[in-house]
Subunit: 134 residues, 4 copies
């Protein structure tokens, strides 16, 4: 099964804008935190990944904003890997305030080396690698 | 014809991340600048719009990242209104570095009042309003 | 005694810049989180403060950068109220990575109403109010 | 004479916060833009500086906030080198909205190499180098 992970995010004052809501660009930063913590929950580290010469770059992203979060809201972000193969990985994100879904998104990331050339995602990063080999 | 407008954007150091490229969330801020200047090029002002009680909120956004900009790059952003009706407006964005297209995106914004209720976009904002009435 | 509080902050990728370190503007956002959580640790809420018409605005800030934090570092921020009287409050901040002090700062905030006029800090916010009255 | 340079900055929506003013951390980003353009006005480039292995890191900064800028304000930033010697450079900043001074600041930057070791600022960066040699 592909991994999923939840984190809590407390909205910072700096993340709000003149409308008194989280500026819509900042959810992208939340998604990135979700991916970092999803990896950590599997015993992995994106920092170590980069130190070993693997860089994940965002290729595309779709976001639906259903409602706006406010300063000091405690949000819950669910990050889910929905597809991982060769040199790309796809994630799905849901952000909740209480029971209310406020933002949904999907992203596709590519794996490259330090020169920006496409690189196969290392096996130790792939949660389905063992199963596929069996 | 629906309006379109171009602006130049100089990449700030603060907008780069540890990969030495513009962090992918920051393009969303560029798009917002594009919309502000598109309105200004039509003799309008988003600030005045808010002062009169109309707020544009982003409902969805799709972004394709084709290449990464670096600190001090001089980018060209083309912002185009592709659809405007009742309470929603859709834009298309293209970011170029020289002749190279590096980011493409689309967004849909809704018009609401200060309480967040859907509101018809004011006629003076609608470039096609006169033509449609003719 | 004037209150003090500690929080942990995990460095986000988006907070780094092209030098691979936390961009120096972002520590200011950390200090703001520190003040929010310092208030919460006293059973207070900055959000409620604003809802009641009190706004804290930063009047000045001094920062010393001793070393640079990196992506995924787990930092410890100590926030301390060092002076609180009438319409101003002063804080001191220290950010540590392990035992190493990496950033020190001080700020002075003023309390204003929604029109920006100076306003006395409400008694319920002042930890020394009771003592002073005794 | 030590160099000085002025740039105009249009406030972005994303730079405002829930108080409807530019978040106080964002002025630090403006100062950085000021330094970049001050160098460019002298025919130099901070990007080239980094490519040649010289990195400027902020050692300390003092900021006084006198008033708050709003979305779409057109600000004028004056950046002035006030001292440059060996491995450090000091700047002074003033931000105006019309004739009103709204933010004042000073910073001290150190020059380091890619490993973070202190490095003498290259002579071609030093506007007073020729005079001193004469």
């Amino acid at each position: 099964m592909l991994p999923q992970h939840e984190i809590d995010i407390r909205v910072r004052y700096q993340e709000t804008d003149g409308q008194g809501r989280v500026h819509h660009a900042n959810y992208i930063t939340y998604f990135e935190m979700g991916r970092t913590e999803l990896l950590r929950s599997q015993g992995l580290s994106y920092r170590r990944l980069e130190e070993e010469g693997f860089f994940l770059v965002v290729a595309d992203m779709q976001i639906r904003y259903l409602s706006g979060a406010q300063y000091d809201d405690l949000l819950r972000l669910v990050t889910r890997t929905i597809r991982l193969k060769a040199a790309t990985v796809e994630h799905e994100y849901e952000i909740y305030r209480g029971e209310e879904l406020i933002v949904k998104a999907r992203s596709r990331l590519g794996c490259v080396n330090v020169e920006g050339r496409v690189k196969r995602i290392p096996a130790w990063l792939d949660p389905g690698a063992d199963a596929a080999d069996a």
